[in-house]
Symmetry: C2
Subunit: 101 residues, 2 copies
DNA sequence: CCGCTATGTACCCTTGTGGTTACGTACGCG
DNA sequence: CGCGTACGTAACCACAAGGGTACATAGCGG
């Protein structure tokens, strides 16, 4: 989970994830859509790969990167648990405080 | 959204969020549950505060921090959109590829 | 007022991160 | 083979981030 959140911290990496949402892409195509040079994109992809968010498949001399959506599920569950469950809990606490005051 | 993801990137900050899930806490209490000294916790709380994830309320000379769960909703939506929607999309793509091969 | 408690902040240091350029490698093509 | 293409990686740099210690501040309590 940790590497997933770390990967998500960088805006460029989130952009890459969004681009891959439209389908598999190679490095050059991704780099063309980003404000940084290709080597930089390559390293971002390495981070995403090690986090299990994308997978690379060698296709001739180009490597096609594909999104692995279920890799985000763990982080998603962590977030939604706190965005929803505790919301109710704190509301209840707040209500009780108002009643006692 | 960006500051939220940036805040979530640090494990200590996520621990703080989890601790605050059990209810409001002051800085000293949080620091006792973390492997770092209090000033460090104080700075983490500053980041979380500026990201809108927690709010501070002065209570005597102690400041009680409270979680703001809905602040995580934006990030949660971003994640769940990619963890679910694109999942189906890629499955469909995969199915089509198998059919054509 | 004085001291104690609870915090935030400034300062310093070390490490991590993101970017660039230059270089090495793998593979298809003629 | 020799070339061009598509990548990954190494070397190098500048800067942001996280941690610790020391210090300033704000309230309580007596």
């Amino acid at each position: 989970m940790d590497p997933v959140f770390a990967a998500l911290a960088d805006p460029h990496r989130r952009t890459i994830i969004e681009l891959l949402g439209d389908g598999p892409r190679n490095v050059t195509t991704l780099a063309a859509a980003l404000p940084i040079a290709r080597p930089g994109v390559s390293r971002h992809l390495r981070v995403l790969r090690e986090a299990g968010i994308v997978t690379a498949e060698a296709h001739a001399q180009e490597r096609v990167y594909t999104l692995v959506p279920e890799s985000l599920r763990e982080a998603d569950e962590w977030l939604s648990a706190r965005a929803g469950f505790w919301r109710q809990r704190l509301d209840a606490l707040d209500t009780e405080l108002r009643r006692n005051s």
